[in-house]
């Protein structure tokens, strides 16, 4: 569970594991009750008005360039938050919702605000969540909501609201989309990112939406969408495939749908999942391929790492195919097998040794020679890092070298590989840790 609700486990938290399941789950929710927003320093925007940007193109350019850097800074801040979360489950859910309510925003102020809205509602009321998302400056920009006006409706948001955010493909007609778009006309935001409803651009005529007739606005439309049980089913399916198993199980998803449809309370749904017996079934262990972020955060959870250049954290996300705040399109990352191709598998297998051990994975063949060589050529490595092995050894003090794999690998190890591991002389915990992390098995969670 700690791999699904968080990013892996320390042997030190063993104490909690031995407790009753219900109390462990309760503790998990209790510790995520609080909300700690994620903020970076945006004071450079203080006192700047939209008119200034118009009058001083030089200033506008400068602010744009600063914005690019700030997005990077926010990305790194987010990764660091995931490594050291104050509210573990809330952060895990935020990451999930970021690939559900997918949005790409280059203005750091709006991006930060959007990200914190995801975080705020992550375990809350789904109805309020969708309504809040529909009014976010970042979303109004990303899916052209602010260009959606009575005289010229823009359907982009209306379509994705139903296709990707609530109901799923094929659950509505083209007519529904047009009527839905009309209800959201007039949605806009001000310079500071606050929602503004422009009455003169809002279509006040009656709309026919899913067999309901009325002078609806956006909130009404969302209420009508949520009346459809399909919405609860769609979200439950997505949560199941993310938190439980990429292979959907109809029975379990139906049970989740019943729970979620009652009140659309996300916390209740997640509690139901974590308390269900099937969640702990053998078949669900190590069934999922880690996303690049899960992989990276999980790795640094086991062995704390300091990157000399924080940009490297960003580079790693990029080469592994998942840069936070930069999704490929509104459908987000596909996940699971799609993370892996010839290129990414090799990078994933090589990366732990590069980050933790000067690119060396002991194989018994000329290890001493290689170690000397690699140390000498350390400067050529793509990333300069300082792994904190002392903390690792402290955390894993009670674990013998042989037992290490139970903590580092989720699920079973392929037989041939297990036999090969047996032949390796386990010189040190540290070396064995790198060997384990360099296996295809380490990609699973």
């Amino acid at each position: 569970m700690y791999w699904r609700a968080g990013f892996g486990i320390h042997p030190k938290s063993n104490v909690t594991l031995s407790k009753h399941r219900a109390s462990v789950v309760e503790a998990l929710f209790e510790s995520s009750k609080a909300f700690t927003s994620l903020n970076i320093d945006l004071s450079y925007l203080d006192g700047i008005k939209p008119i200034d940007l118009k009058n001083f193109p030089e200033l506008a350019r400068e602010i744009n360039q600063k914005g690019v850097k700030k997005i990077l800074e926010f990305n790194v801040a987010w990764v660091k938050r995931l490594v050291n979360p104050s509210e573990l489950l809330r952060e895990r859910m935020t990451l999930f919702w970021a690939n559900h309510f997918v949005c790409r925003e280059r203005n750091p102020l709006y991006a930060e605000q959007y990200n914190n809205t995801l975080r705020y509602f992550a375990l809350g009321d789904f109805r309020d969540f969708v309504k809040a998302i529909s009014k976010e400056a970042a979303m109004l920009r990303y899916l052209n909501g602010k260009q959606n006006k009575k005289a010229r409706p823009n359907e982009n948001f209306a379509r994705e609201l139903m296709e990707l955010f609530t109901l799923g493909e094929g659950q509505y007609s083209e007519k529904d989309i047009k009527e839905c778009a009309r209800a959201f006309t007039g949605y806009n935001h001000d310079f500071g990112g606050n929602f503004v409803h422009k009455e003169n651009h809002h279509d006040n005529n009656s709309k026919l939406f899913f067999n309901h007739i009325g002078n609806y606005d956006g909130d009404d439309i969302i209420d009508i969408i949520l009346e459809n049980k399909q919405c609860a089913a769609y979200i439950s399916d997505k949560i199941y495939r993310y938190f439980v198993n990429p292979k959907p199980n109809k029975k379990h998803i139906n049970a989740m749908t019943e729970v979620f449809f009652k009140d659309y309370n996300i916390e209740n749904l997640m509690r139901f999942v974590f308390l269900s017996d099937w969640f702990y079934d053998e078949v669900n262990m190590g069934s999922k391929i880690k996303s690049p972020i899960e992989y990276l955060v999980g790795l640094t959870n086991t062995v704390p790492v300091t990157f000399e250049s924080e940009r490297d954290l960003f580079k790693i996300q990029k080469i592994l195919g998942q840069t936070l705040l930069d999704p490929p399109n509104v459908a987000g990352w596909k996940g699971d097998k799609a993370w892996i191709d010839a290129n990414t598998i090799m990078i994933r297998l090589k990366l732990p040794s590069v980050i933790l051990n000067n690119a060396l994975i002991a194989s018994g063949e000329h290890d001493e020679f290689k170690k000397k060589f690699m140390t000498k050529h350390k400067g050529r490595l793509p990333f300069k890092t300082t792994p904190d092995w002392t903390t690792f050894l402290e955390n894993f003090e009670a674990v013998s070298t042989e037992e290490l794999q139970d903590y580092i690998i989720q699920g079973a190890i392929n037989k041939g590989t297990a036999d090969y591991l047996q032949t390796l002389s386990k010189v040190s915990k540290r070396e064995y840790c790198v060997q384990l992390m360099s296996l295809p098995e380490y990609q699973m969670c």
């Binding site: 010839a342 990414t344 994975i361 295809p440």
Partner: protein, 395 residues
């Protein structure tokens, strides 16, 4: 004089350099590379506005529907009623040489206007009412591929188009990195001990298979690619870099049948003109450099380039000086000895639009795929394109 200098200066050296090429050519014949047909796909992601790409410059309906967006200046007029966007100037020579065929009104029944889904349809060659888990080029590989390097996508990630039911192409941005990583003795040992065949359906089995395949393909590409084959100067952008990579592979005579490239950013809901002008320039300049590169190496004749976008855009512009998602669109086919160069068909009516105000399609994109498979790749489309399609006669 040291040895290297000697070799460099001596006449012998220059003749030596020719030998490997000659031997290589000889080998090619032996390994049935003769007449090796290659397909290069260029995907314009986001939905390129076809009406501002191939412009109906005599059509009042066009100008009325787009008061602020229609292009009237510097159109490169090709026929009495159609012309290029000014950014496509570098492609003019191809058009004049009969090396470009423009197919208008390409689409499919009941068009979907979501990027994701429509791209899905184009990549899987499905209808809009069916969902396929594999791509059309992936299924081509299922039947005719032996190694994942038989189809290469120049990207960090592999598109669904390149994923078969049992077999995938490979994605790589830098084949050297792949090669270096694959060489590690630890991986060699792990792989040589891999024996669990029953895992093959499982995610873990997939990881092992991908790794084994990556290793052998990385070796192959590294050992057979000669980067010096492409000296043509390309523009400085990432799409041009992709094409340059493809040219290096083609000119090195890799056993790769399909290459996949992509240029994104065409989702122009707002302030379309500046964005599209920039993107079409990147496209045209890069493609032009690519073709020159192939021509100089004598490989153009065996290369066919297909450019598509997941949909066209609405005829009417929107209030933000952009266009919303539409349906039918034009497709470019570039190659030598095209059967029907220039305009393959005329543009659909701008008055007889569908209910959404979009162009009606007249050519199913799957008939283009079918034609390429059977007339260019010389294979049957059965099992690759699920629906029966008519053959077209552009090649």
């Amino acid at each position: 004089m040291d040895r290297r200098k000697f070799l460099k200066n001596s006449a012998l050296a220059s003749s030596l350099f020719f030998v490997p090429n000659f031997v290589k050519a000889f080998e090619s014949v032996a390994t049935e590379h003769l007449g090796y047909k290659r397909l290069v796909i260029v995907q314009l992601a986001g939905g390129n506005d076809g009406l501002n790409t191939i412009i109906p410059h005599q059509n009042d309906l066009y100008y009325n529907a787009r008061p602020k967006l229609a292009i009237s200046k510097d159109i490169i007029k090709l026929t009495d009623d159609l012309g290029f966007h000014p950014s496509l100037q570098p492609l003019r020579a191809l058009y004049d040489n009969g090396e470009l065929s423009i197919i208008n009104n390409v689409g499919y029944p009941n068009p979907v206007r979501s990027h994701f889904r429509s791209m899905d349809i184009w990549q899987t060659a499905s209808g809009s009412d069916e969902y396929l888990q594999s791509g059309w080029l992936g299924r081509y590989l299922d039947q005719h591929g032996k190694q994942s390097y038989n189809a290469i996508e120049i990207d960090e990630q592999l598109s669904l188009a390149m994923k078969g039911e049992h077999f995938n192409g490979m994605a790589t941005n830098d084949f050297r990195v792949l090669y270096k990583s694959a060489k590690d003795p630890y991986f060699k040992n792990v792989l040589s001990h891999y024996n669990d065949t029953h895992l093959s359906e499982h995610n873990l089995g997939y990881l092992y298979q991908t790794m084994i395949d990556a290793k052998s393909s990385a070796n192959y590409i590294f050992e057979n690619t000669d980067v010096k084959t492409s000296q043509e100067s390309y523009p400085q952008n990432s799409f041009a870099k992709q094409l340059k990579n493809v040219a290096q592979f083609i000119n090195s005579d890799l056993g790769t049948k399909v290459f996949y490239t992509s240029l994104g950013g065409f989702d122009t809901h707002a302030n379309q003109n500046s964005k599209q002008t920039r993107l079409l320039s990147q496209y045209a300049e890069s493609v032009s450099a690519f073709i020159n590169d192939l021509k100089r190496n004598g490989t153009f004749e065996d290369t066919l380039i297909l450019t598509f976008s997941e949909f066209g855009r609405r005829v009417k512009q929107n209030a933000a000086n952009g266009t919303d998602h539409g349906s039918a669109n034009n497709v470019f086919v570039i190659g030598k000895n095209l059967k029907k160069a220039g305009f393959y068909n005329s543009l659909a009516s701008l008055s007889d639009l569908d209910n959404n105000g979009d162009l009606k399609y007249s050519i199913d994109f799957r008939s283009i795929y079918t034609t390429i498979l059977s007339q260019w790749m010389n294979v049957s489309a059965e099992g690759i394109i699920p629906s029966r399609q008519n053959l077209l006669d552009f090649i």
